[in-house]
């Protein structure tokens, strides 16, 4: 049994991981095929059916909004956008963070000091406001949002990967490999990287909800995804304006957003337990 299949086996034995992972998978599947099956689409307005509460009759399962658009399809679309933004942004932060952190950690010494001082400096800056500034100055677009979120989140990843690399580098098995004559690239590939995977997987899982949070925050302020496209943040924002008459417009997307974030957080926590247990044995 390889290390990977063992990790998978451990994850399968963790109830937290299975439940939260299953929930996310189910949401993703429904979000993907829901709009395709539904007779409604996301941008057709229907002034005969404004503020329709959830109903089966016209398949407006989540009701309609102030323009009579079907909220089920819009919400599912929002989930899609939210998940895509989150995953892509996390991949951005993963790539930057791992490369930066591993470099600083493995080279060490003065290079490490300078690189980490830079990260510390960025840490102390209110990045979210920079992102807002960025979105105000330049026209809002999808790409910018990915980049902006990724640019915030890579800091954590870089710190963690750097710390881990640094401690791995000091471990005796790395010294042993150097003495045997294993080349540096091979040491990184065969000895450092495999021992980093656990921590990276855990932190990617925990970065995703943060990315979702930032994206929906920006969309809530009207700086993220633009109409007629939508994301869960936009839907919550729209719903918040209609709470007196059409509370479903707020509650359904809000609940979905909360469930998605909760599931990712539980998934990350569960994975950490799985990997911690493996490390400490």
């Amino acid at each position: 049994m390889s290390t990977f299949t063992k990790a998978v086996a451990h994850m399968r034995s963790s109830k937290t991981v299975m439940i939260s992972g299953g929930t996310l998978l189910a949401i993703a599947i429904v979000a993907l095929i829901g709009p395709w099956i539904s007779p409604n689409d996301y941008m057709t307005t229907d002034f005969d059916r404004l503020f329709q509460s959830p109903t089966f009759s016209s398949m407006n399962l989540f009701g309609t909004d102030d323009l009579g658009r079907d909220l089920f399809v819009r919400t599912m679309l929002g989930v899609q956008v939210t998940l895509v933004v989150a995953v892509v942004a996390s991949v951005v932060s993963l790539v930057i963070g791992v490369l930066y952190g591993a470099t600083a950690g493995y080279i060490g010494g003065r290079v490490d000091t300078v690189m980490m001082r830079f990260v510390d400096t960025l840490y102390a800056t209110p990045f979210i406001f920079f992102v807002i500034l960025l979105l105000v100055v330049f026209e809002q677009n999808f790409l910018l949002i990915f980049v902006a979120i990724g640019a915030i989140n890579w800091l954590d990843m870089a710190r963690i990967v750097r710390g881990q690399t640094l401690s791995l580098r000091e471990r005796e098995f790395v010294d042993a490999a150097r003495l045997i004559g294993v080349s540096t690239p091979r040491i990184i590939l065969r000895h450092i990287a495999p021992n980093l995977i656990g921590v990276v997987i855990v932190y990617v899982t925990l970065t995703i909800p943060q990315a979702i949070l930032i994206e929906s925050f920006l969309s809530f302020l009207g700086l993220g995804i633009q109409e007629p496209q939508t994301s869960l943040g936009n839907l919550v924002s729209g719903g918040a304006l209609q709470i007196e008459g059409a509370s479903w417009m707020l509650l359904i997307p809000a609940a979905l957003l909360a469930i998605i974030l909760l599931s990712f957080n539980f998934l990350g926590d569960g994975m950490r337990d799985v990997f911690d247990a493996r490390q400490s044995r």
């Binding site: 471990r171 005796e172 010294d175 003495l179 045997i180 021992n195």
Partner: protein, 585 residues
């Protein structure tokens, strides 16, 4: 009735008994040694006496202290017993003292908690206690934090805290395992002297300590008491095979014979090597190793001995190219080698191998034994096909005493001894000429240690392997070293043939080290209080001879002038007074 009475004590976790059916007693004011290898249940027993076992432990049987039952007692009862009736000294004083609170306050809190004193009265008693355990300037140290004290001083504070409420029983769990041998002697002497009528239960893996400090001893194996009796009687006529094996495995610094010097070809010449580190934050240089010369012959074992911080590991690592040298030269097989290990010729890298102290840490946790042992072959014998490589791995494992059943194991599935065998197999599979063992047996139990030493000896005899054996433990190196190098604060103190070093040391420091080592023999227990103080910080080395502040033979010259190593009576020694002192040792 005994002061401490343990009857049928069993401690289990998840249905597995760590301690089973243990019964023994400790009388008032006697000293009892509780010995056993790791996993024998010694520490669990100590924690049970204090009622400190975690909630997950299933405890049955009875423990009474002064008639009070401890098993199943409530917190209030236990808290009243602790400190006032039973004091505890833990192994590692660095971890056992709170780093966030001045030590005086920690001691004070005990008195207040038990209603024994408060206000300035408590302060007085704390200072008196700190003074009694030998803390210089106790009034000032009252406000000190643990990290500002040396290891020995921390353990003195720990002892003060255990005795401040005048308990009837003192439990000391491996109280000197984390300390250097000269400090160990001081701490054990202090324990003896200060405990007065307090009974002592001394828990240790080291039979030599029991031999010198306990009237009675108990031997634990796998959670069962297998033997108990007067220490002298047990040492002279052990009733069980296990006790006999424990005594035999305990190395003796006083009598064991060192192997005769070898006359092989010179293999490795370490010439005037110095290693320095830049201290963080500040601009100071830390001179970890200074001007060390060493010549290693084929088939020879040289032990490099020193207390922690003496630079012995740094020396080895710089020879191997893991740490850059500041000055000096290394000649191997007639050719100068230099630079970091990555830039060395592939044959040189093959010929110099290392075995580490922590067997688990030196094996990649993600790899199986087969891959770990085969890895050097991938570099040094890339032409081997899979089959041939596996065959080499299997035969190598057999050489170190492991079967092919271990091929698919992960490091965490190995015991300490097995992991160390795998590490040795990895080092030896490419047939190196020199093997550096950095405290390679320090983390192992006595019996396992002996097997590993025998294995190394066998390899040396069969292949002419030269070994540099780094150790803090003089007793361990005596039986295996052709020659011994003693280092202190990064400098050579003495370099001599094994037999010479152990019978006729030339340097006061070597003499002190030898005297401080306890001997597993109740009739000649060694472990004498031989030298004052502790090794100073390498950041602030004393002037002249670095040993002079602790040396009882120091003259004015020793303070002023650094003694260069010279040859006195066939021994390299760095002492101004070596000739004069010849007669005194």
């Amino acid at each position: 009735m005994s002061l401490l009475e343990i009857d049928g004590l069993s401690i289990g976790y998840g249905g597995v008994d760590i301690v089973s059916g243990l019964s023994f007693g400790v009388d008032a004011s006697e000293s009892v040694g509780l010995v056993g290898e790791s996993g024998s249940g010694k520490t669990q027993t100590a924690l049970a006496i204090l009622g400190l076992l975690p909630g997950t432990a299933a405890v049955s049987g009875s423990i009474t202290l002064g008639g009070q039952e401890i098993v199943g007692a409530d917190d209030a009862t236990l808290n009243a017993l602790r400190a006032e009736h039973v004091g505890m000294v833990f192994q590692d004083p660095t971890q056992a003292l709170n780093p966030y609170i001045p030590i005086g306050d920690q001691l004070r809190r005990i008195l207040i908690q038990h209603g024994l004193a408060d206000g300035s009265d408590a302060d007085q008693r704390v200072m008196h206690m700190l003074d009694r355990v030998g803390l210089p300037d106790a009034a000032r140290q009252f406000r000190a934090y643990a990290h500002q004290l040396s290891g020995g001083m921390r353990q003195r504070v720990m002892i003060a805290s255990a005795l401040i409420a005048a308990p009837d029983l003192l439990i000391a769990d491996e109280p000197t395992t984390a300390l250097d041998v000269t400090v160990q002697a001081q701490i054990l002497e202090l324990l003896e002297r200060i405990r007065d009528d307090t009974a002592l239960l001394l828990i240790t893996h080291d039979l030599a300590i029991v031999a010198g400090h306990c009237e009675r001893m108990l031997v634990l194996q796998d959670g069962k008491l297998i033997e108990e009796g007067k220490t002298r009687k047990l040492f002279s006529a052990p009733a069980t095979e296990h006790t006999r094996a424990l005594i035999d495995a305990a190395p003796r610094v006083d009598t064991a014979a060192s192997p005769q010097p070898v006359s092989g070809e010179p293999l490795l010449d370490v010439d005037n090597v110095s290693v320095s580190f830049q201290e963080r934050d500040r601009q100071r240089q830390l001179h970890a190793v200074q001007d060390i010369d060493l010549e290693l012959r084929e088939g020879e074992t040289i032990a490099v001995v020193g207390e922690s911080g003496s630079g012995k590991s740094t020396l080895a690592r710089s020879v191997l190219g893991l740490i850059p040298m500041r000055t000096g030269r290394i000649v191997f097989c007639g050719k100068a080698i230099e630079g970091p290990v990555q830039s060395r010729a592939i044959e040189t890298r093959r010929d110099l191998q290392l075995v580490f102290q922590d067997p688990a840490g030196s094996l990649d946790p993600q790899m199986r034994v087969e891959r770990i042992v085969a890895e050097p072959l991938a570099v040094h014998a890339p032409d081997l096909d899979g089959e041939a490589r596996k065959a080499r791995v299997i035969s190598m494992l057999e050489r170190v005493g492991l079967s092919d059943a271990f091929l698919q194991r992960f490091p965490h599935e190995l015991s300490g001894g097995q992991a160390q065998r795998v590490a040795i197999a990895r080092a030896l599979i490419v047939n190196p000429k020199v093997l550096v063992c950095d405290e390679a047996v320090a983390a192992l139990d006595g019996s396992v240690r002996r097997e590993i030493l025998l294995l190394l000896r066998k390899e040396q005899q069969e292949t002419g392997l030269a070994i540099i054996f780094i150790s803090h433990d003089l007793a361990v190196v005596r039986s295996i070293s052709h020659r011994v190098l003693v280092v202190y604060l990064g400098r050579l103190v003495e370099l001599a043939d094994g037999e010479q070093m152990f019978t006729k040391p030339r340097h006061p420091y070597t003499r002190a080290l030898l005297d401080a080592v306890p001997v597993p023999d109740p009739l000649a227990p060694g472990g004498r209080l031989s030298v004052k103080g502790e090794m100073p910080s390498i950041l602030e080395p004393p002037s002249g001879c670095a040993f002079h502040p602790r040396c009882s033979y120091a003259h004015a010259r020793c303070k002023a002038e650094l003694p260069r190593p010279r040859t006195v009576d066939g021994t390299r020694v760095a002492c101004h007074r070596a000739e004069e002192l010849l007669e005194r040792f």
